[in-house]
């Protein structure tokens, strides 16, 4: 069986060591414990928890989710109990010695991002930060930060300065004219890694009630429907930056994982697929070595970015 071990190296030389390149995507895996009945969460590459803010957030009104062809829309609006409750109540329950725990963070100002980074950098059980500057479902901050290279850069710098030795992953939005340009700005601002994509802004309506299917009117599209867009984004970003790229968007099988690695991803995150089946991520992790063997892939690092375009 080929070894799936994956090293994501940060700029300062520190590294995230993953048993497998497959992690959970923020907001789709709760705080990890929700999935314990369905598989061994310590087998994941890493657990990326639901987005955290400094203060608790109630999120958006209902309805918050809608099913769409091969995908879904969500406008949860970053409901969470705040970083303190996470540290005191959720973090202790997680098997952090066996699997890296990555905190996904969200704030409405560079100062708050800095403080979140600072608070989390003192938690031994946290292995990295993923900075969400790409949420389309909040009025302040969110995707607005992720659509402006200057604003994004200043947030990355603020987080980096306060993250201590924690690797900083910056999560990009596909809702931009030029994602490569954003990635470049973020790399230059000092990010250790880039993950993409967050959701694509979308909408659904009911012709009978004449109401939007989401109370927030617009929401973020995810699931297999967005996979072609996500693959394109990862490919464009991986061609542009030299830091590790983490692929996200519609991944639902080991085959999908290899597609993202082929176009340049070092690792991937599984989102919506965990709703379709709570065992999906465990099955993907289990299937991956066998599929590599079948394809004669001896080494993921060699397969990575080996797309034949000539």
């Amino acid at each position: 069986m080929i070894n799936m071990h994956t090293t994501l190296r940060a700029k300062n030389g520190s590294a995230l060591e993953l048993k497998t390149p497959v992690m959970s995507a923020s907001g789709t895996f709760g705080y990890g414990t929700e999935f314990m009945p369905y598989g061994d969460i310590s087998k994941l590459g890493a657990i990326i928890v639901k987005g955290l803010s400094l203060k608790p957030r109630a999120g958006n009104p209902l309805p918050r989710i809608a099913e769409t062809p091969c995908g879904m829309l969500n406008a949860v609006g970053l409901q969470n109990d705040g970083v303190e409750a996470f540290i005191s109540q959720k973090l202790p329950l997680l098997p952090a010695s066996e699997v890296p725990i990555i905190a996904n963070i969200y704030a409405t100002s560079a100062e708050d991002f800095a403080e979140l980074a600072n608070v989390l950098s003192h938690e031994e059980k946290v292995s990295a930060l993923e900075v969400n500057i790409s949420c389309p479902n909040v009025k302040a901050g969110g995707v607005l930060f992720g659509q402006n290279p200057l604003m994004a850069g200043s947030i990355v710098q603020a987080v980096k300065k306060n993250a201590g030795s924690l690797p900083v992953i910056v999560k990009l939005s596909p809702n931009v004219t030029n994602i490569a340009e954003m990635a470049k700005a973020i790399e230059e601002a000092g990010a250790d890694m880039i993950s993409c994509i967050n959701t694509i802004t979308g909408m659904a309506v009911d012709i009978r009630s004449r109401k939007p299917l989401l109370a927030n009117i617009v929401g973020g599209l995810s699931g297999p429907a967005v996979k072609p867009v996500a693959l394109r984004c990862v490919w464009q970003v991986a061609q542009t930056v030299s830091i590790p790229v983490i692929g996200i968007g519609g991944i639902a099988s080991a085959k999908d994982v290899l597609e993202f690695i082929l176009v340049g991803a070092s690792a991937v995150e599984i989102g919506t697929a965990s709703f379709t089946d709570p065992a999906a991520i465990f099955k993907i992790i289990q299937d991956l070595p066998g599929l590599c063997e079948e394809l004669g892939v001896k080494n993921l690092e060699q397969y990575r970015n080996s797309l034949i375009t000539g």
Binding site: G30, P37, G59, A66, G71, V76, D81, A252, F275, P278
Partner: protein, 274 residues
């Protein structure tokens, strides 16, 4: 609900039977029987998430259904065709397989006191198991309002055990009657210091909820919200609690209907916030 949580499991189960109860131009009703999952325990009011294994990715989510009944051999669900997913589920055939995770969520309280069961339409589903498992069935009575003829619903399995008053709502006026009956029956239950359990569509539940607060009667409501995961992870299905919610940190805030519900005490909810 106060006891140790019941651990859910995920299983791929074979369909053993699918019995139509009735067709209408708008809706059709089915009892779906699956092979019994290896559950150690379950309690009426809990639900499962179900997704046929034959589905491709066009329909993204599994569908939530109340557990109707569990026998040594089988898990029985009762459902109506409401949209695309249930239309497909209604095409299942014996030996087809489905992925099921559960039992999920909270359950109805069982107390040795006069207990009024209020069911609206397909909301009757969880009460079949509730009645069968109840240790003192003569404490139970039910009021069931429905829009389609009675034979479309599994009423018979209930009348075998308890007294059921039904109202076939055919006209708009019948709805007013239903609301009056609910009020009157809840008043009686309040006088007897009894318990009210309700399951049905949101307007029906809002009526029960308002009465429960006004009459100060113990009442539990089973809520339906759109669900993606069923296990508390997506935060898609939240309901807003009242100031009386026991977990003080969550009082007045949205909590997951799939894990903190679907069965809530009426006074712990703020249905006006929906």
């Amino acid at each position: 609900m106060e006891n140790a949580p019941i651990l859910p499991i995920r299983a791929e189960l074979a369909v053993t039977d699918l019995i139509p109860f009735g067709y209408d131009k708008e809706r059709s009703f089915f009892a779906l029987t699956l092979a019994r999952p290896q559950w150690a325990e379950w309690k009426p009011g809990q639900f499962i998430m179900l997704r046929p294994n034959s589905w491709n990715c066009e329909l993204t989510w599994a569908r939530p259904f109340s557990i109707c009944r569990v026998t040594p051999q089988s898990l029985v669900l009762f459902f109506q065709v409401a949209g695309r997913g249930t239309k497909e589920i209604a095409k299942l055939k014996p030996k087809d397989t489905v992925t099921v995770w559960g039992p999920l969520g909270t359950h109805f309280a069982v107390e040795n006191k006069p207990t009024l069961l209020l069911a609206g339409g397909i909301g009757i589903a969880p009460f079949a198991g509730y009645v069968e498992q109840h240790p003192v069935q003569n404490q139970l009575s039910m009021f069931f309002s429905h829009r389609l003829p009675e034979q479309y619903y599994p009423v018979e399995s209930l009348t075998r055990h308890i007294e059921v008053e039904t109202r076939y709502e055919q006209k708009q006026e019948d709805l007013t009657g239903t609301i009056q009956t609910i009020r009157q029956k809840m008043e009686e239950t309040a006088k007897k210091n009894g318990l009210v359990l309700a399951c049905g569509p949101m307007p029906f539940l809002k009526t029960v909820w308002k009465n429960a607060l006004e009459l100060n009667v113990s009442a539990q409501l089973s809520l339906e919200q759109r669900m993606a995961c069923g296990i508390g992870a997506c935060l898609g299905c939240v309901s807003v609690t009242s100031a009386l919610y026991p977990d003080k940190e969550k009082a007045g805030l949205p909590v997951q209907t799939c894990t903190k519900g679907p069965v809530f005490w009426a006074h712990e909810l703020n249905l006006d916030a929906q």
